[in-house]
């Protein structure tokens, strides 16, 4: 139960080096601990997490293969492989390398970035609703993009720039507005909600004042879409994700200590305010890069950390399963969105909401029957 609801168990964990990954109630750490002889380096390996990551990778691989070989123009797995090695025919090269691969890569990276960003914000705010879509960071990116689309009538590339700019400005504003001798979780959330309300109202206002055609363009972008994503979108996103995801992983340990409360974390040697700022910066950057690439895809940041925590039965945010699950959620939703109403391509955000929501409903109804 608590795992789905996302209650941090850290509050009751035993204080000490072993408590970082310990299950609630002061139990010994799960899994095996690998150490070198002098005990300078150690690594805790949790069997269940490894199994979950393996399973997620397998499903993810299956979805990737399905995305590459199906569609209006069927391609056999061998032809895909040849194209990827640069030895395919011109036709399959175009379909595989120019159309399908960049779209798939964008989806995978956007999913992972959103999911990790969600895990960071949910842990920092100790609230299952504390995902970047709810506390204003995504709304800032959305406003930046909507202004570019509806007021400046910019291109797709300029829309992405607008999204990044809007996201960064909003994140800085929320941080400064909620800073008062440190950033406490509740105040950050409430200031973020206030900002989100204003930005969303601005978006709605702009959409009601636009022509129907412009409004549909803006609304499609607001739902989140991977249509016509090419290598121009993949490269900057890949650079951003390659920098930000390892940074998030580095701070993951500190993050689980921050869940024990500022005072406990300080006593354990964590520079609290600096870590919070760094985590917020990484989380906001991940969210706004993902939004710039594909629009504010809904529900991934909210649901992926919850589902990953449930699957891995981990007490805190498990970043690797979360990232894999986010990638899987977006990739499989995009596959469904492309094929469900073909040739009309639904925005991927509609599908992530449907897929993620139905999965969560199913999970809850299973628990309801006491399974």
């Amino acid at each position: 139960m608590a795992s789905v609801a996302g209650l941090p168990a850290g509050g009751t964990a035993r204080v000490g080096p072993a408590a970082v990954g310990a299950a609630a109630g002061g139990l010994a750490p799960r899994g095996w601990v690998l150490r070198d002889r002098a005990d300078r380096l150690s690594l805790r390996v949790d069997g269940r997490s490894v199994a979950v990551c393996g399973a997620l990778l397998a499903v993810l691989a299956a979805v990737c293969v399905a995305t590459m070989i199906t569609g209006e123009y069927a391609v056999s797995p061998r032809e895909v492989f040849d194209s990827l090695r640069g030895q395919g025919s011109a036709g399959t090269d175009f379909v595989v390398v120019t159309l399908r691969l960049p779209r798939l890569l964008t989806g995978l990276m956007v999913g992972a970035a959103l999911a990790v960003s969600g895990a960071i914000f949910q842990t920092m705010t100790a609230n299952p609703l504390g995902s970047p879509d709810i506390i204003g960071f995504t709304a800032g990116s959305a406003t930046g993009a909507v202004v570019v689309i509806l007021v400046l009538h910019g291109t797709v590339y300029e829309t992405s720039l607008g999204a990044v700019a809007g996201g960064v400005v909003t994140a800085v504003a929320i941080y400064l507005l909620s800073f008062r001798r440190g950033v406490a979780g509740p105040r950050l959330i409430l200031v973020g909600i206030g900002a989100a309300a204003m930005l969303t109202a601005l978006n709605s206002y702009l959409i009601t004042r636009a022509t129907l055609g412009d409004a549909i363009t803006a609304q499609t972008w607001l739902l989140g879409s991977l249509n016509r994503r090419g290598w121009d979108e993949v490269r900057p996103l890949a650079v951003a994700v390659a920098v930000l995801l390892p940074a998030a992983a580095c701070y993951g340990r500190r993050m689980s200590m921050l869940t024990m409360g500022g005072d406990t974390a300080k006593a354990l040697g964590v520079p609290v305010e600096r870590s919070r700022l760094a985590l917020l910066a990484v989380g906001a950057a991940l969210a706004s890069c993902a939004t710039a690439a594909a629009g504010p895809i809904g529900f991934v940041a909210l649901a992926a950390p919850q589902l990953a925590r449930h699957l891995a039965r981990s007490p805190g945010a498990a970043l690797l399963p979360t990232a894999l699950l986010g990638a899987l959620l977006v990739a499989s939703s995009d596959l469904a969105a492309q094929r469900a109403f073909a040739p009309t391509q639904l925005p991927v955000g509609v599908a992530t909401n449907a897929v993620g929501g139905i999965y969560l409903v199913w999970l809850l109804s299973r628990q309801r029957r006491g399974l």
Binding site: M1, V4, A5, G6, L7, N127, P128, L129, G130, I134, L177, S178, R180, P186, R187, I189, L190, V191, I193, G194, A197, M198, T200, A201, L202, S204, Y205, I207, T208, L212, A215, I216, Q219, T220, L223, G298, F299, L302, A303, Q306, F341, T344, L346, P347, G349, V350, A351, N353, A354, G356, G357, I358, L360, V361, L364, S365, Q367, R368, R369, G370
Partner: protein, 359 residues
């Protein structure tokens, strides 16, 4: 409104008793809560009069006052009686619904981030409106009203059944997660249909903003009783909610029927917010922010939080509506837009200044 007045009276007298028993050196001094509530009522009366007096047509105040009591069917009287008074009443009913619904949602889920939308009410209403427009060809805003109401009720019931019943242990977080899951599915349906059907999207984008000028006024007489019943239920369960704030076990030990209180709470939210959403569209910020402001003023006692929310939310909504009428006159800004733009900065300043009221 009648229901609100009668229910408030025992709360006021109950407070006088409660304060007499408080120790003289109470740790936190607060202004007398009853006086604050009277002040809030005064504010509501002022804003209500402003909403009748101010608009795109510049009518002399004396004329407005005269025709308000003597409907002589002159042009002024028609504007006042057929446009401004119904619009003000819609704002009042929607405000009470959103404020009290938000307070109940936060108390039931014990989550400061909860708003009525978290129980699926807003997106349930949106989904029903989209289905009515796209599949049944309903085109008049007055026709949306009952679909919105039914959608809100069905969504809230589904969230309740999934989140708060069954053999597994019931926790408030379950309600939140169930609400988020249903909202996601309903949102996917709403925006998926709107994406495939551009005519529907054209109507949805205007309904989605939230406005007091639209559908509600013609159906207000039929809608208000639902909100009245919801308000009565809200005050009836305020005491049990106070006990449940200590935790489910403590509440149970104090003799609260947990299942009954939760069921009644969801029923009240569905009635209150269903009415508000049907009358004025999905306005989100009011239901979330006003209970926070109320708790900052009156402390965590749910009876007072509900009373303050019931008065302060229509103040915010009506003030925003008046502002929206004058700021770009003769055109209008929708109330949903102005509410966020006026309310959010105030809310942010409050969050920085005040010690946040705990749930």
């Amino acid at each position: 409104m009648a229901a609100e007045q009668t229910v408030l009276v025992p709360q006021l007298s109950g407070h006088a008793d409660g304060r007499a028993r408080e120790p003289a050196d109470a740790p936190v001094w607060r202004p007398p809560r009853a006086a604050g509530l009277v002040l809030a009522f005064g504010l509501l009366a002022v804003v209500g009069m402003l909403s009748i007096a101010v608009g795109a047509n510049h009518l002399p105040l004396s004329d407005v006052w005269r025709v308000l009591w003597h409907d002589d069917r002159s042009e002024t009287a028609v504007i006042v009686h057929d446009l401004r008074v119904p619009r003000t009443l819609v704002g009042l009913v929607a405000g009470v619904g959103l404020g009290v619904g938000g307070a109940l949602a936060q108390a039931l889920t014990r989550n400061a981030l909860a708003d009525p939308g978290i129980l699926g009410v807003n997106l349930g209403a949106s989904a029903a409106v989209v289905a009515a427009v796209s599949f049944l060809g309903v085109t008049t805003p007055a026709g949306y009203v009952w679909f919105a109401m039914a959608g809100a009720a069905v969504a809230a019931s589904a969230v309740y059944v999934l989140g708060a019943t069954g053999r597994a242990a019931v926790a408030p977080e379950r309600l939140v997660v169930a609400g988020a899951a249903f909202s996601a599915v309903l949102g996917a349906f709403t925006y998926g249909v709107a994406f495939l059907d551009h005519q529907t999207f054209d109507r949805l984008r205007f309904w989605d903003v939230g406005s007091l000028a639209g559908a509600g006024s013609s159906q207000l007489g039929a809608l208000a009783p639902f909100a009245g019943v919801g308000l009565a239920v809200a005050f009836a369960i305020a005491g049990p909610l106070n006990a449940m704030a200590l935790g489910d076990d403590a509440g149970h030990g104090l003799g609260v029927g947990l299942v009954r209180t939760r069921a009644l709470g969801v029923l009240a939210i569905a009635l209150l917010c269903g009415t508000a959403t049907a009358a004025a569209g999905p306005i989100t910020f009011v239901g979330l922010a006003v209970p926070h402001v109320a708790r900052t003023i009156c402390g965590p006692d749910q009876r007072w939080v509900i009373a303050y929310s019931a008065v302060l939310a229509p103040v915010l909504l009506l003030a925003a509506d008046v502002l929206g009428r004058v700021v770009i006159a003769p055109a209008e800004l929708e109330v949903g837009v102005v509410t966020a733009f006026v309310g959010a900065p105030v809310f942010i300043v409050l969050c920085r200044r005040a010690r946040l009221g705990r749930l």
